[in-house]
C-alpha cells in the first residue's frame, strides 16, 4: 500500500467523519452539550479556585519584597503567629539587604453604626508604607496612614462595614478610626484587608512592642537572592526565610492540603470532566450503534479498522474542539459577569487552553468505547 493511498484514505475518513457529525444535528447538539457542560463546570470551578488562590497569595505577589521572614509554622499571610522584632533588625544588618521592614497582621472588628460588628484583617505597616503597604488604591495615597488613627479599608467591603466613605469614623478594636481611603479587590479568603500604621495596628491588638508578624526584605541585587536568603537563614535560626515564590507555593500547598477548599474544588472540577467524558463516550457509542450499517458498509467496501479508528478520532476531535470553544466562550462571559472585588475567577491561558486540550484528549479517549464496538462490526453484516 503506498503513501498516497494511505493519505487518501485518511482524508476520505476525515471527510466522512465531518459529514456524519454534522448530519445528525440532534446527536451533535447532545454531545456538544455534554462537552460544553464539562468545560464550563471544570473551568468555572478551577477558575474560582485559582481566583481564591490568587486572593490568598496576592499579598506575597504584590509586595515588592524578595524575601519573607515567617514565624515558625506560619504558611499563609494572616494573623496569628509572631516573631521577634529583632529579626527585622538582623535583616537590616545583613549584607545585600536594601531594606527590611516588619509587618503586623492582626484580626480586629469594625463596630457598625446599626449595631453589631464585622471582622477585618488589619495590616500594620511602617512608614513610608511602601514595604508591604496597600496597593490598588482608589483616590488616595498610602501616606494618609501617617495621619493619626487613620486606616485604608477595602472598597468591596464598604457596605458591609456600614457604608464607609472617606472621612467616616468607625470604632475598630475599641478605638475611633478615620477612613483615609480605599483599596480595590483586596479581599482574601476571609475578612478584607485594612491597612494601618504599624503602631496603630500594634495598639489595636495590644501586641508587645518587640513582636511582628512578618519581615519583608528587598535585596540590593536580585541575582543574589539565594545567597542573601542563606545568610539570613543562618542569622535567624528560629524563624523561616523564604523567597516570594516559595511563600506563594507554601500558601497554595496549605490551601490545597490543609483546608477543604482544594478537595472541594478539585472534586467539582474532576466531576465536570468525568461528566463530559461519560456523555461524549455514550454519545459516540450510540452514534456507532445507530450507524452500525454504515460502518459495516465502509468495512465492506474496503475500509480497515484503522480507517474507522481515524474516523472516530476525527469525530472526537470535532466534539472536543467545538465544545471547548463554546464552553470557554460561556465561561469567559461568566467570569466577566461575576467579577467583583469579592469574587474574581482567574482564567489564565494555561487553564483555558489546558482544559480545551484535556477535553479533546478525553473525547478521543471516550471514543475508545465506540471503537471497541466498531472493531466487532463484521463487513458480512451488510448482507443480512
Amino acid at each position: 500500500m503506498n503513501d498516497r493511498s494511505l493519505a487518501s484514505r485518511a482524508r476520505t475518513m476525515a471527510h466522512v467523519a465531518v459529514h456524519m457529525v454534522f448530519y445528525d444535528k440532534l446527536k451533535l447538539a447532545g454531545t456538544l452539550l455534554g462537552v460544553v457542560f464539562a468545560v464550563v463546570l471544570s473551568n468555572q470551578q478551577a477558575g474560582t479556585f485559582l481566583g481564591l488562590i490568587y486572593k490568598n497569595v496576592m499579598f506575597a505577589k504584590n509586595c515588592s519584597a524578595d524575601l519573607w521572614v515567617l514565624p515558625p509554622g506560619a504558611e499563609t499571610f494572616g494573623p496569628g503567629r509572631v516573631l521577634s522584632m529583632a529579626d527585622a533588625m538582623q535583616a537590616k544588618a545583613t549584607p545585600g539587604v536594601a531594606w527590611a521592614e516588619p509587618l503586623l497582621v492582626v484580626a480586629s472588628q469594625v463596630k457598625l453604626p446599626a449595631g453589631g460588628s464585622e471582622p477585618i484583617t488589619v495590616v500594620g505597616v511602617k512608614p513610608p508604607y511602601e514595604a508591604g503597604g496597600p496597593w490598588n488604591l482608589v483616590s488616595t495615597k498610602a501616606s494618609v496612614l501617617a495621619r493619626p488613627d487613620t486606616m485604608i479599608f477595602e472598597d468591596g467591603d464598604r457596605e458591609n462595614l456600614g457604608g464607609l466613605n472617606v472621612g467616616s469614623v468607625r470604632e475598630v478594636g475599641g478605638r475611633n478610626i478615620t477612613v483615609g481611603g480605599f483599596t480595590w479587590g483586596l479581599i482574601p479568603f476571609g475578612p478584607s484587608y485594612a491597612f494601618a500604621d504599624f503602631d496603630v495596628a500594634r495598639e489595636l491588638s495590644k501586641t508587645p512592642q518587640d513582636r511582628a508578624s512578618f519581615v519583608v526584605i528587598k535585596v540590593t541585587e536580585p541575582a543574589k537572592i539565594t545567597d542573601v536568603k542563606a545568610d539570613l537563614a543562618a542569622r535567624l535560626p528560629e524563624s523561616v526565610v523564604v523567597t516570594r515564590d516559595e511563600f506563594q507555593r507554601l500558601t497554595i500547598r496549605n490551601l490545597l492540603f490543609k483546608t477543604a477548599i482544594g478537595i472541594t474544588f478539585g472534586t467539582s472540577t474532576v466531576f465536570g470532566l468525568i461528566v463530559g467524558f461519560v456523555i461524549v463516550s455514550l454519545s459516540m457509542f450510540s452514534s456507532v450503534v445507530d450507524n452500525i450499517r454504515e460502518f459495516g458498509t465502509l468495512k465492506a467496501i474496503g475500509a480497515t479498522n484503522i480507517d474507522l479508528m481515524l474516523l472516530l478520532l476525527v469525530q472526537a476531535t470535532i466534539f472536543g474542539v467545538i465544545g471547548s470553544v463554546i464552553g470557554l466562550a460561556i465561561v469567559s462571559q461568566m467570569a466577566k459577569g461575576i467579577r467583583s472585588a469579592k469574587l474574581a475567577m482567574s482564567l489564565p491561558p494555561e487553564l483555558t487552553f489546558g482544559t480545551a486540550a484535556l477535553m479533546v484528549v478525553l473525547c478521543i479517549a471516550a471514543s475508545s468505547l465506540a471503537l471497541l464496538r466498531l472493531r466487532k462490526v463484521e463487513p458480512a453484516m451488510v448482507f443480512r
Binding site: 476520505t12 466522512v16 459529514h19 456524519m20 458498509t297 474496503g302 475500509a303 451488510v382 448482507f383 443480512r384
Partner: protein, 243 residues
C-alpha cells in the same frame, strides 16, 4: 477507452483455466457444538470472467453466505476459494480489505449508502479509498452517475432520492473505478416490479459493456431471464446450475 473498459488481466486458476470465481468443496458452519449450523455443505462453483450469474434459492438456502464468501467479507470454514486467480482461503483481514477495496463492487439490498454524503460523494467513496485523487474520483463518480441516469442528482443526499434512485446510486458506486467483480445482494427486493427490472437491466448493460463479472443473489423470478446462468441453491448445496 475509459477506466471501466480496463479489466485486470486474470491469472490462471488451479486447473489452468482463468476463472473469475473458483470455489471448491466450500463449507461454512455458523456457531459450534449443539447449536452449530451448516449453511454451505460442500459447494463447487466456477464463474467465468464477464458472466452475469444469478444465485437463487429459498431463504436460508445459503446463497447470501456464498455471496459473502465471494465478497471476501466472510471466510469459508473449509474448502478452497480463488477469486480472480488469488487464493483467499488463508488471506489476512487486511489482505481481504484490500481485495474488497480494489477488486469488488457491492450492490446491497437496502442500497447501504452513507446517509450524510451526497450521491456523488457516495459513488466517489470507494474510489478515494483506493487512493484515487479526490478531483479524479469526483469526476469519475459524476460520469458514473450520469451513466445510470442520475446526472441531475449529484448533490442529493439519499433521503432525497426514491428507492430506485438510491439503488442506481448503489450500482454506480459498485461500478465506479471498474472493479472486475460486481456482487449484488437482492438488488430488486426493495423495489417494485418495474423498477426492479430496470435496475437489473441497467446493471447487466453496464456490466456487459465493461466486461465485468456479476453475481446477483435473488429470488425474484421476474429477472431470471436476464441471467447468463442461474445457480439454484437449497440446503447449502447446489441443486441446479443452468445457462
Amino acid at each position: 477507452m475509459t477506466d471501466l473498459d480496463q479489466i485486470n488481466p486474470l491469472p490462471s486458476g488451479p486447473d489452468g483455466r482463468s476463472w473469475a470465481i473458483d470455489v471448491r468443496d466450500v463449507r461454512k458452519v455458523y456457531g459450534s457444538g449443539a447449536t452449530a449450523y451448516e449453511a454451505l455443505r460442500g459447494v463447487d462453483v466456477q464463474i467465468e470472467p464477464g458472466e452475469f450469474v444469478m444465485l437463487s434459492g429459498p431463504s436460508g438456502s445459503g446463497k447470501t453466505t456464498l455471496l459473502s464468501i465471494f465478497g471476501c467479507v466472510l471466510s469459508a470454514t473449509s474448502g478452497s476459494v480463488h477469486l480472480l486467480g488469488k487464493d483467499i482461503s488463508k488471506a489476512s483481514e487486511s489482505d481481504l480489505a484490500r481485495m474488497r477495496r480494489s477488486l469488488i463492487g457491492f450492490v446491497f439490498q437496502m442500497h447501504n449508502l452513507i446517509a450524510s454524503l451526497t450521491a456523488v460523494e457516495n459513488v466517489a467513496l470507494p474510489l478515494k479509498l483506493r487512493g484515487i485523487p479526490r478531483a479524479q474520483a469526483m469526476a469519475d463518480a459524476q460520469a458514473m452517475l450520469e451513466r445510470v441516469g442520475l446526472g441531475d442528482k449529484l448533490q442529493s443526499v439519499p433521503r432525497d432520492l426514491s428507492g430506485g434512485q438510491r439503488q442506481r446510486v448503489s450500482i454506480a458506486r459498485a461500478l465506479a473505478g471498474a472493479p472486475p467483480l460486481i456482487l449484488a445482494d437482492e438488488p430488486t427486493a426493495a423495489l417494485d416490479a418495474q423498477n426492479g427490472l430496470s435496475i437489473t437491466q441497467l446493471l447487466k448493460s453496464l456490466a456487459k459493456t465493461t466486461k465485468r463479472t456479476v453475481v446477483v443473489v435473488t429470488h425474484d423470478n421476474r429477472i431470471f431471464h436476464l441471467a447468463d446462468r442461474i445457480i439454484h441453491i437449497e440446503d447449502g448445496l447446489i441443486q441446479k446450475d443452468a445457462s
